[in-house]
Symmetry: C2
Subunit: 461 residues, 2 copies
Amino acid sequence: MPRDLPSSLAAELSALLGPAGWRTDEAVRRAHGEDDSRQWAMPDAVALPQDAAQVAAMVRACRALRVPIVARGAGTGTAAGAVPFDGGVVVSFARMARIVSISPDDRVAVVEPGVINGDLQQALAPHGLFWPPDPSSFERCTVGGNLATNAGGPRAVKYGATRDSVLGLVAVTGAGEIVRCGGPWTKNSTGFDLTRLIVGSEGTLALIVEATLRLVPRPAQQATLRAFYRDAGAAADAVSRLMRQPQGPAMLEFIDARAINLLRRNGSDLPEAGAMLMIEADGDEDTLPLALTALGAAAEGDGLLSLDVALDGLARDRLWAARRALSPALRSIAPGKINEDVVVPVSRIPTLVAGVEALAQRARLPIVSFGHAGNGNLHVNILYHPDDADESARAQAALPQLFDLVLALGGTLSGEHGIGTAKRDYMTRAFDVPTLAAMRAVKAALDPDGILNPGKVLPAA
Amino acid sequence: MPRDLPSSLAAELSALLGPAGWRTDEAVRRAHGEDDSRQWAMPDAVALPQDAAQVAAMVRACRALRVPIVARGAGTGTAAGAVPFDGGVVVSFARMARIVSISPDDRVAVVEPGVINGDLQQALAPHGLFWPPDPSSFERCTVGGNLATNAGGPRAVKYGATRDSVLGLVAVTGAGEIVRCGGPWTKNSTGFDLTRLIVGSEGTLALIVEATLRLVPRPAQQATLRAFYRDAGAAADAVSRLMRQPQGPAMLEFIDARAINLLRRNGSDLPEAGAMLMIEADGDEDTLPLALTALGAAAEGDGLLSLDVALDGLARDRLWAARRALSPALRSIAPGKINEDVVVPVSRIPTLVAGVEALAQRARLPIVSFGHAGNGNLHVNILYHPDDADESARAQAALPQLFDLVLALGGTLSGEHGIGTAKRDYMTRAFDVPTLAAMRAVKAALDPDGILNPGKVLPAA
């Protein structure tokens, strides 16, 4: 339930941030209250600070009156992490969107949080470098949002997710203090690693105002293998083989039998199969053929039905088109979709897929699984009609069963989307009481009055 | 100043741990009071627990009486992190040294902290896997010590240091609670990253009782390039070139002019040069020649004097022999050595080397720099005669000047050894007041009574 801001605070923040940095008109507030979870709540105001000092002053002012602050990137999150359920101030970093510096010799970029992921990649390309995180929303999502959720993407299997790709931060704690941790080095044993603690904390520990990012040399060429298998077990065995040899894949995506059938029904020319892997290799004109040979050999084995290779851009696009057609195809079955980015040990993928199939039958709902197999990070999509009360109830009821299955397999709730409020109430299943208590203690250490993104990530004690 | 343990506590812990797990005889205590910093203090007792429950019970008992607990691996640390300056109980993990499991399909091992790094590598070799951290003490040091200091080694340039190589932990906080964080997955956006917070905290936040380690496929072959340069600037330019291309080196070690001259005087057949790089490539019989070609091309450039290649084991041993002869050679100049593992951005290596040379002239002491150039992590060795009071004083006086130089170059205090007490008092130069306050708050959150390794890492407020 949004509440009104104290007028003294509104006046103080309006003076601090100026008319372009302090917006209380309803249209702006309304537009800053939702994210891709399709949940929504009305903030009392939207702040658009321009520098770290403004952020720190704002946090101090809000803290004095216990007013919530919810950090927001581009609102592409799927776990409601940016939705201001308790009202208060939504902080947009749209005016802190500078690429501060790119240092090719140190393979480091310093950026403000509002930079769009895709814009950063474009700026890096002329230097022959890239930043590993490549969420599917890269054209819209911000680096700040990537940092908040520890975002990943297909490339993470070779190059790491966001937390693996951040070297340092400047951040404002819930106490309104500016902390500076890490820096432009890839090795650091100097004090506690606040950087990786704050990354993935979804705006609950500190507001990131600057990040030093680890950059990676860009391979000259890519090629794609597409492999069809008899069943998920045969595909998972191939995943283990692909990951166990030194020439690892640059991407390794899994698509289950239901997804293949769905694409076939929607006009795709995929063959009948129990599972499909998309395997990307990268390198140069000398190394790429060797990588393809090694990956192709690892893809072969019991249960392989067929293996295609695509060397040039057009052929690769054709292979990847089926993968890209999946999300629209899901909507053709049912308008409602609960997409959970669960993680299991790679060797447990077949058991997960079998368990999801059993769950689909019990729930009498289609459930489609695909995603980042090399990381054991599958997107499990429960499809339903939101207007059908019974289907909606069955979809919701399937969710705790899915998480129980994942946790029983030694997995966890989220590989790249984060917890927000969407998975918050399952945290008590993923962690025992002492571990959640330790997380709450860390939260209290950096945000003593609990004003940063209240109610997110951690369930009430 | 060690103090006596309360007799009630001694009785309780003796009963808990049994005669083999609770040692108060002077010889045992004496042997557990020093590390490779060559500092020493007498603990009041040595505990050798056998499982997590014993560790938790011990911490609770000590906490009730505010008795310090100092975790200890093999005592190979160089920053006095394991020295019990305040007395209390030293905890050895020598009886928690099991490799719990190796899962080749998940590329994961679960180990207890007392496992010797080299023993783990031997157990992994038949699976074609290794664990990246390779400190020079690998034959003696423990995984627990590697975790505590975020240890590195030459291989970190390609495969990451300890923090990059840990997926999950079971640890006992200073409150005596067992926390379980992370797990056998390479992607995780589920709650706060306590794993990487505890790694590198040198036993000040929690006692690690089990770790889930990320394993890497072992390349079949290695080859070595050795390049001599006119000066450190030319070598640093080569380091940037080597690191900016996709086929990165598996090791990339720098040796400065003083070290080269020292080795030459000691009978090595090295040519005269301003700097030397040791560049390791790895791969298989097809990819290794390509990696060597790419690295060789990147090593070439203005200032390159000569380039050797060693393909087979014997030739490689010959090239690396000079690097290995360095530490003994340093002792031939002077028996005293202050070895600081500072870090700077790679592009600042020449400025660091020039600054160290100027510092050596001001201090009238030999200072020799070498180390992990690809990470900007150089070992700066200040050489002196400990029996010469004037030399000792000049060596000590050079230390703050070295750290000021490193920090002015945008670097930091330690890349792999940790802070302990050796660098603790320089932490106020490396971090501002709010950042140190945030670290202290996190310490208080996990170790509310400050019993875990008191006085280490963080200077008094």
